[in-house]
Amino acid sequence: MGNPRSESNKGDQVKFQEELKDNIRKALPELDVVIGWCGSFDPLHATPHFMRREEDIDKLEISPLSVHNLATYLPGLRGKKVGIVVKGCDSRSVVELLQENLINREDITIFGFPCTGVVDQSKIKKALGGHTGNIEFCDMSESVIVIKSEDKAYTLPMAEMLADKCSSCRYPDAVISDYFAGEKIGNKGEEDADYAAVETFENLSVPERFGYWLKEFDRCIRCYACRNACPLCVCRDHCAAESRDPHWLSQENNVRDKLMFQVIHAYHLAGRCTECGECQRACPVDIPVLMFKQKMNKEIRDTFQYEAGVDPEATPPLLSFKMKEENITEKVW
Amino acid sequence: MNTSLNYAYYPGCSSTGTSIEYDMSSRAVCAALDIKLTDVPDWSCCGSTPAHTVDHSLSSALSARNLDQVASMGLDSCITPCPSCLANLKTAKHRMEDEGFRDKVNNLLDKPANTKIETKSVLQILVEDYGIENIRKKVVKPLTGLVVGAYYGCILNRPAELMQFDDREHPMAMDNIMEALGATVVPFPLKVECCGASFGIPRKDVVMRLSGKLLDTAKSIGAMALVTACPLCQMNLDMRQDQINHANGSHHKIPIFYFTQLLGLALGLTEKELGMNKLCVSPRTLLDFMVNEENIKEKAA
């Protein structure tokens, strides 16, 4: 909108960005659309970019602002030939969708690149004193973000602005791809996922935990952006949240139903969620909804040694069983 | 093999008196097998049978003081040669897991009881922790020619739920050790029958009858000697063997060894270290016989 587009995203990224564009140029003639990212309403934001024509490719921008998990769009485009640009974490959602037969591998062309992390807008907002409504300029390098807002310049260390999932990322490279631009960083799937935050939270007392969520969910507006941004919420138009048969939830604005919905969401994602964090990022009122899913994943990992979105041939643990469960100790009465 | 076996050691009162040779031989054997024993500091009496016949909390309190001494060593388990001490210490721990009972015991103590300390017998750790096969490897003087019966007594492995060791009706730990030492073991049918226990003083007649039956049986199966793991059993069968003979008109002269004594012998320890001279029924003839048998065997080889 006539806002000064930043000259950003230079440095190392440009090299693979051009390589990536070449990849897409090569593949686009066979595809209906390729989904990537481009600049948005201000220099601090990017937006999903649907490339259908050659000239669309020029607008493609890969940067730490490329936060959106574009895999979310894939089930809706079933039947079309779709190309998708993926970060490491996004690729795990693609794996998961493939695993559940929600997309066809032959219809999907995956463009990977070495991701060094994406920013957490709320961290930037905090660093800027709670306001990012007037961003005039933004430039990013591997180590810092330079932002100009309301005539003030800020130089923020990139490491501190990265999303939590990025600082402990074990899959910077796409786990599955047809094209890969740039040099792979190296995945470390064998390392344990980091659930320190969940563990810290669990140290709170029972009423503290309960009270925390009541307070947080009080401001939920039930817009379901968390659900709709989730690449693995595949029920979409038939979500149990808005149905009368089954009638799990009322439409009343009460915190009970809001909390219940989050449990439903987390449970339906058990063993499937790749912790891309889109639910939490999408929340317009900043409710930390990711923690429920992380907790669920932690339990899945501890009980079944399973991690979602790594192996397209695997079966989610709750859709399978073993006669003897090594890690389940049943209560003795 | 576990090279660093290390235990807190609770000798029990009789170790200073009537069963001094059990204590000596246990210590000697452990030393020979590189098993480190550290005495429980300033241990006191576990209360034995008399205490639990008076009151269970009193009995447990007496044991608890000792368990606490073990805890003060920074350890969570101890061993004892004596089955009576073993039973008391184990019972105390087990019963104190019940909150109500623990409160009663704590009422008698200076500080709250420790309920985490496990106790095992010397026999148990030799069999389970050290291992029969490892013992077999250490034998330098096999007990050639010795025909022996193993007598366990009643409380070494009963009640089974509490003691958690060996078979309650047919224990084999000592049989197996003796076999490993080169002795010929004859199955002793009354392995777990009672010898008369502490009735030696107040009801000698009972001991005469019960221990007499044990000696008769030993003879009937052709055992040259019996091995035991209990000071009371040993005392009744050894020290009172003359009394028994007298009372029953029998003529037994059966040496009653502590299993640790024979084990020590096979490991090459001296008779003195093992307190062989403390036995009332002299094992002299038998010991000489074994040496002779071994010589014959060696010559033949």
């Binding site: 979409r236 048969d245 | 078979d167």
Partner: protein
């Protein structure tokens, strides 16, 4: 829906601790309820008539009965409402007897709880829909598993009734435990004289196919249409040509094989026919003892066999049979008495089991019917029988009474006197269980006429004393410890579920109790049915039984099968899952988790959808709890029905 509620007193069973009138009064306040009353016996004829009349008078659309467990009378009341013209699924039960009145005495709490249960039932009923069965064809063949006396009876009754029968027996001969017995109580008639002809009938019946030395590998399908995979274990002898002449047995040089038929009393040859009357009378090789199979040397049997049927290369073979019903008659095994250290745990050769003794008594047994001490072959003089070994003993996990040991011990004591007139038998017993026609008279005879010394008390210890065994017990009637110097000790070892019973139950999808005995459909009213349609029980697999009871149950099971097959088609249970095509997104999670393969993919307007095959669906509802959007719903247990019950109980 207009709902009628009937709260049953069940005489005083419920009324004594539940204020049924108050429950009915409370029910009148529930949504939908237009009629509620308490009745004395709702299941009685007047009780049922009251329901029918109320439906007509008040134009009711659904009925709740609060009474006993639905396992007792759900079918009864479903028929009642059907009689009144309602669909039988417009009915719900609240269990206020087994789950309320019988488990607590607090009348206020019980009444309150009953009101809750009726409220839940009503809320669910309001969401019930009429359901209609489908008909499907059935295969009128029956499988009998186990060839003991119960299985033989069931098979012959079915075969005589015109059904094709497939019998699978895991050992190489039918006959079961009964074939091992010398005589039977209380008539003391020859066991093999009674059983033998029945075994021959099985072999010769045109309707019976016998798979001996075979096991059930796999069971699929459902009532009317089971598919069974049978494993025919390798016998190394071609049974089509084996004539049972026994020459191989005579020549086999390996004579140290365990003689299972003789309970380990004596040894047998590596190739053997278990006993002369075996059916089928065919030889098989015990591969553990055959030197040709273990070491590659020998081959004598192959050389001597006149019909050339030895085949050392034989492999297990699998056949598939299709049947419509299954009778399970897998019998029992003896308790492993070696846990009794005080009885020697098997160390003393002259302490044997009753069944071993039975083989010793049998003229065709290894001792030719002579009673001999296994240790030295001498005739015993003092014989001690100990009852309740592995029965009525919590400490070994067998608190139940086996029930027939008292009788067989009495029989053995009598036979002992017949065999060895100079002998003296002692029986240590706790109680004598002699319930049956002529049974008590029989045990009395053992005491009165055969001078068997019955000692009321248990034995605490047996130990060798010279050549004899010292048996130390108690005579509680005298109040003293007693000792017997015995030459032979016979343990009346109790029965336990046969080895592999639980694995078979899992294949059959039937339940078993904590001892492994199969659960009957109802302890009183469905003694031979199971909770799985088309699977019936006969004999000791359901619990220890003597011969007459086993035979009776075999016949009863056969009658059930014949009844089931009296129709050409069966009605399917309509409580199956159904897919809401609009909500289904075709993710296939239900297909993935359905244990029965009852859901398939289908195409609907170019989209993939799930589709339930009604006759295959068993109504477990795993699909419903798997489907995230609730598109597949198990009818009669829908999400909304369960949620309505939750909501009836919990409203913040």
């Amino acid at each position: 829906m207009k709902v009628g509620v009937f709260v049953c007193h069940c005489g005083s069973n419920i009324e004594a601790t539940v204020d049924t009138a108050a429950v009915a009064a409370a029910a009148r306040e529930f949504p939908g309820v237009v009629f509620a009353t308490d009745t004395m016996y709702t299941c009685s004829e007047p009780g049922q008539d009251e329901i029918v009349n109320a439906i007509k008078e008040h134009n009711l659309g659904g009925i709740v009965v609060a009474s006993c467990t639905p396992r007792m009378h759900e079918q009864t009341f479903r028929r009642t409402v059907e009689r009144a013209g309602l669909n039988k699924y417009l009915f719900e039960m609240a269990n206020i007897r087994e789950h309320v009145s019988w488990i607590g005495k607090d009348r206020e709490a019980n009444t309150n709880k009953s009101v809750d249960l009726v409220r839940m039932a009503t809320e669910k009923l309001l969401r019930n829909r009429p359901l209609y069965s489908k008909k499907f064809d059935i295969n009128k063949r029956v499988l009998v598993i186990g060839g003991g006396v119960a299985g033989i009876q069931a098979a012959l009754d079915c075969a005589d009734g015109g059904l094709e029968v497939v019998m699978v027996e895991k050992t190489s001969t039918i006959g079961g435990k009964m074939a091992k017995l010398d005589k039977t109580f209380p008539t003391v008639d020859c066991s093999s004289c009674i059983l033998g002809p029945r075994m021959v009938d099985v072999a010769q019946h045109p309707n019976i196919t016998l798979y001996a030395y075979s096991e059930i590998e796999e069971i699929n399908g459902y009532v009317g249409n089971f598919e069974i995979k049978v494993k025919k274990k390798a016998t190394y002898v071609n049974w089509d040509s084996c004539t049972g002449c026994g020459i191989c047995m005579e020549k086999c040089p390996s004579k140290k094989a365990t003689d299972y038929f003789n309970e380990g009393i004596g040894k047998t040859t590596a190739i053997n026919i278990p006993f002369p009357q075996a059916i089928p009378k065919k030889a098989k090789i015990d591969p553990d003892f055959c030197t040709k199979l273990t070491k590659g040397k020998c081959g004598v049997c192959a050389k001597v066999c006149p019909s050339g049927c030895i085949d050392y290369e034989m492999q297990d073979e699998f056949v598939t049979e299709k049947v419509g019903a299954i009778v399970t008659a897998t019998g029992y095994d003896l308790f492993d008495w070696s846990v009794y250290g005080e009885y020697g745990a098997g160390r003393y050769p002259d302490v044997i089991t009753g069944l071993q003794y039975e083989r010793m008594l049998s003229a065709s047994g290894p001792t030719g019917g002579h009673i001999k001490r296994p240790s030295d072959g001498k005739e015993p003089k003092n014989i001690v029988f100990i009852q309740c070994v592995g029965s009525r003993d919590k400490s070994v996990g067998r608190p139940y009474c086996t029930g027939f040991c008292c009788m067989y011990t009495a029989k053995q004591a009598i036979l002992t006197k017949d065999h060895l007139p100079d002998s003296q038998s002692y029986v240590f017993y706790m109680d004598i269980r002699a319930v049956g026609k002529l049974y008590d008279e029989f045990t009395r005879r053992a005491m009165e006429e055969y001078d068997t010394k019955y000692i009321r008390g248990r034995v605490s210890m047996i130990y060798p004393k010279g050549e004899k065994l010292l048996v130390r017990g108690a005579d509680t009637l005298m109040g003293s410890q007693v000792e017997v110097d015995a030459d032979l000790v016979v343990l009346a070892v109790g029965a336990e579920a046969s080895a592999g019973a639980s694995e078979l139950a899992e294949k059959l999808r039937i339940s078993y109790d904590s001892y492994g005995f199969y659960m009957e459909g109802h302890p009183k009213l469905k003694p031979v049915e199971t909770n799985t349609a088309g699977v019936y029980l006969a004999g000791a697999c359901q619990g220890p039984k003597d011969i007459p009871s086993s035979v009776a149950q075999g016949s009863a099971a056969a009658a059930k099968v014949l009844g089931l097959f009296s129709k050409d088609q069966l009605e399917s249970d309509p409580q199956v899952s159904i897919v809401d095509i609009k909500r289904c997104i075709g993710c296939g999670k239900c297909i993935q988790t359905c244990p029965f393969g009852a859901i398939k993919e289908m195409e609907f307007r170019g989209m993939v959808k799930a589709d339930v095959i009604e006759t295959i669906c068993q109504g477990c509802g795993i699909c419903t709890s798997t489907c995230p959007q609730g598109a597949i719903q198990l009818q009669h247990s829908t999400d909304n029905q369960i949620l309505s019950e939750v909501n009836a109980l919990c409203q913040f």
